[in-house]
Symmetry: C2
Subunit: 478 residues, 2 copies
């Protein structure tokens, strides 16, 4: 059977993904090393994702603010693990003026900065410096701040949405009086991310703590949401860090306690990014293109008039009227009355993953009926129903699709997780080409033989099993 995307997922998952991005008109590679341009359809999905995440973050008492793009190298250098983790991918600003020299526009040597800046790869340092001034007494705590910004980590092997030199994200930075509160906060934001992925993205993520080897540079504990892609690889889609006193000590974030003494505070940071879009696309899409959960679909319903002969105007008006009726029910809908041929419209919106596709021909119009197809189920779900019934039930159809998409991934994930009792068993499974997450005793992964397996099969520790932290999940990853 012909598919809209070639190759198919089974034929070449990686190429399928690239072609999916193009076919759904989501993004393209930019003429800047490792960067992408997010096109309007892709950005509309991000805006829906962002707005809902923002709502949830504010609901737990976090306030948004905005910190500078540039970070003095000296700040960056204050926390040893942090600088070791990010120095190798830092974009550096060294001049502040361009000049024509010998006919070539180049950095003006006279504008060279004594102290260069880096473009933020993350903002623990510059926010830590601000908090050292903003936090004075226990009355100022907890302090909970977030920002939605672009960050940059120079990327040698870029991959759209999953790994790009510049990406957009939210980074939250909270300060507490005690370690207990900070650790609870890191776990709370971790849970918030898991709930969001489940309820909004229809993705059941594996939720757990990173092993010491895989922690964020400068954290005592890192909690992660690992999504399982259709090819069995892991995608780290959101992390929350208990930073202990690493940054409060490096930046002097101290508060006057009720005891009248100065204490170093305890901080957390937590982030999700446009990378989550890559997870969304790779989790749900199929060989005909994108499949979007209704919660983040720019159009939840698209109406396609099937024009035959000269009934264009009447059908288009009818489609627009139906669109208005659905909008009155709070549904995002497009009546596609453009002058493309109907089959081209149909494939356009299939590739773009619109949840419900409605087709109306002259006969349906006369009969007060329409044909509706669910994107995730395809042809099998195609049904003709009365227009009034559709308008009344469209919201429930969308809700059902959202639930079903989650359940489908949950079932698939269950088949993707394999228990292994020894490194030999792990090695044999990988060597036999088995894909997915492997669950084994964490202790086993501390043996030198595990390092060899990691290298040979390009796997890594994803996270400890929350249900039994003596076990760890390992997998290939994006």
């Amino acid at each position: 059977m012909k598919t809209a995307i070639t190759p198919t997922r089974a034929e070449n998952f990686s190429e399928w993904y690239q072609n999916l991005i193009t076919a759904a008109d989501l993004a393209e590679n930019a003429p800047v090393r490792g960067c992408m341009t997010v096109k309007p359809y892709g950005w509309a999905i991000w805006e829906l994702m962002r707005d809902e995440m923002d709502r949830r973050i504010k609901a737990v008492g976090v306030q948004n603010a905005n910190f500078p793009l540039l970070i003095p190298i000296e700040f960056f250098n204050r926390e040893a693990e942090h600088v070791a983790g990010f120095a190798k991918e830092a974009a550096v600003v060294t001049h502040y003026r361009l000049k024509q020299i010998d006919g070539v526009l180049q950095p003006d040597p006279e504008s060279k900065l004594t102290d260069p800046y880096i473009i933020r790869p993350t903002s623990e340092t510059i926010i830590g410096e601000a908090m050292s001034r903003w936090v004075q007494s226990y009355r100022d705590l907890p302090m909970k701040l977030n920002q939605w910004v672009n960050v940059m980590r120079w990327e040698m092997r870029p991959r759209m949405f999953l790994r790009t030199s510049e990406f957009n994200w939210q980074e939250g930075h909270n300060v507490f009086a005690t370690h207990d509160e900070a650790n609870k906060d890191a776990r709370r934001m971790h849970k918030l991310y898991g709930d969001y992925m489940r309820e909004v993205l229809a993705i059941p993520a594996i939720m757990g703590e990173k092993t010491p080897e895989e922690r964020f540079a400068g954290a005592d504990h890192t909690y992660t949401a690992e999504q399982i892609m259709q090819d069995g690889k892991a995608l780290q889609a959101g992390t929350s860090h208990d930073l202990g006193q690493h940054f409060s000590k490096s930046f002097g974030i101290q508060y006057l306690g009720t005891d009248g003494a100065l204490h170093h505070a305890w901080t957390t940071s937590w982030g999700t990014s446009t990378r989550m879009m890559g997870g969304l696309f790779m989790t749900h899409s199929d060989d005909d293109g994108l499949v979007l959960p209704p919660a983040v679909a720019p159009y939840q319903v698209v109406i396609i008039p099937i024009v035959r002969g000269d009934d264009t105007e009447g059908l288009n008006a009818y489609a627009e009227k139906l669109a208005d009726d659905l909008r009155a029910h709070g549904i995002r809908v497009l009546a596609d009355t453009s002058d493309m041929r109907a089959p081209d419209k149909m494939w356009k919106w299939i590739k773009r993953g619109v949840p419900l596709r409605v087709e109306i021909g002259a006969r349906e119009m006369d009969a007060g009926a329409l044909t509706v197809t669910r994107r995730d189920l395809g042809r099998a779900s195609k049904q003709t129903i009365a227009v009034a019934d559709f308008v009344a039930s469209a919201r429930e159809m969308l809700a059902a699709m959202q639930r079903d998409m989650y359940d489908a991934v949950l079932r698939r994930n269950a088949e993707m997780i394999h228990n292994v009792g020894s490194l030999a068993e792990l090695s044999a499974a990988l060597s036999a080409g088995k894909t997915g997450f492997f669950r084994l005793k964490y202790d086993l992964t501390l043996a030198p033989e595990f390092d060899a397996i990691m290298e040979q099969y390009k796997i890594s520790r994803r996270c400890l099993d929350d249900a039994d932290p003596e076990y760890v999940f390992v997998a290939k990853s994006y």
Copy 2:
């Protein structure tokens, strides 16, 4: 009379502004040359401003997208006027890695880029390059794109919100088949900005075209919204450019016309930024602090329980209940039940410009009444009314305040605009210390003597008078 902000506007407008920013907890200088950190209260105002602007931009058929932060110098160099306008303030990225050398963390010489990048000062060039691929035929036109991003123009004389090296903005970039359409679009977006300033910010801006001397670097026509600050200086708060074919020719944005031939397209760009916040603050605020139009006030109503003795709990609960009742009417409200003293709370929210301040003491609670004061009118507006009446009329009170604030500025502006018939008259007025906008024949400003006046009094041409483009407004400016 003691004021919350010292010095007062009359004593020292510039210092008053700096202290206003601090007193209202809006922002602070960042430890990065020319940059600021926007604090939560300031950012909450920006989010309201941004969301309403975004809604209006989308309503005229523009789609949001996201283009890279970095721009290859070669792109930037393609349009001669453009590069001349921005090269002198460009932050340049020259390395992509840091390394410890002799114990100092610095740009790794081995990571030096053959082709450096600049941080976008604006994105005509990189968007032009994308459009040269995205625009193929007349069917692709018009194409209307916008992005909400940070940009950077290295600033030697920074001033919070008004002029910072990094700032946040929206930049729209549209493409059309004909010059007529493009010019109409530039004017449409200009009008959209004017409507927005009037309806949302309660600011009547002077709307007109820039003279050739003051145009955007690479534009055929620049339309501007010039706001008049309380000290009579101008603030350019939003511009819309008819770019002619400058960028379509530099980047090869061509379309196949209905005539079967290739044509260069016509482009526009238009932007408003966090600078508009500076205009908002400088236009409406007074010697007691910020005064916010209800449309962009994070809290439109603040309720302060006036606790005397041990009635704290009952009063706080009563305040929270009232807050909920107001929220049910779609009002943004805070019941300030924190443990500050009531007078401190009162001054805190006066300084932060909350439109309606409600005070409730035990006696008011028992009588089912409250005291309400309008921020713009102060004590004179203080009235005690029944709680039920306030809940029913609060929205109308806010709407009235929004209108009155606009009218007050309109009246003040009328007194700030002076007609002058000659350069001698202009010179005399400036020399006498007269402030505001001076309106004179544009031709007069082409004489060499005008250059001398500009330099001596630091004035500049702001824009032509829309009502009679033979006249131009000149003023000092931010």
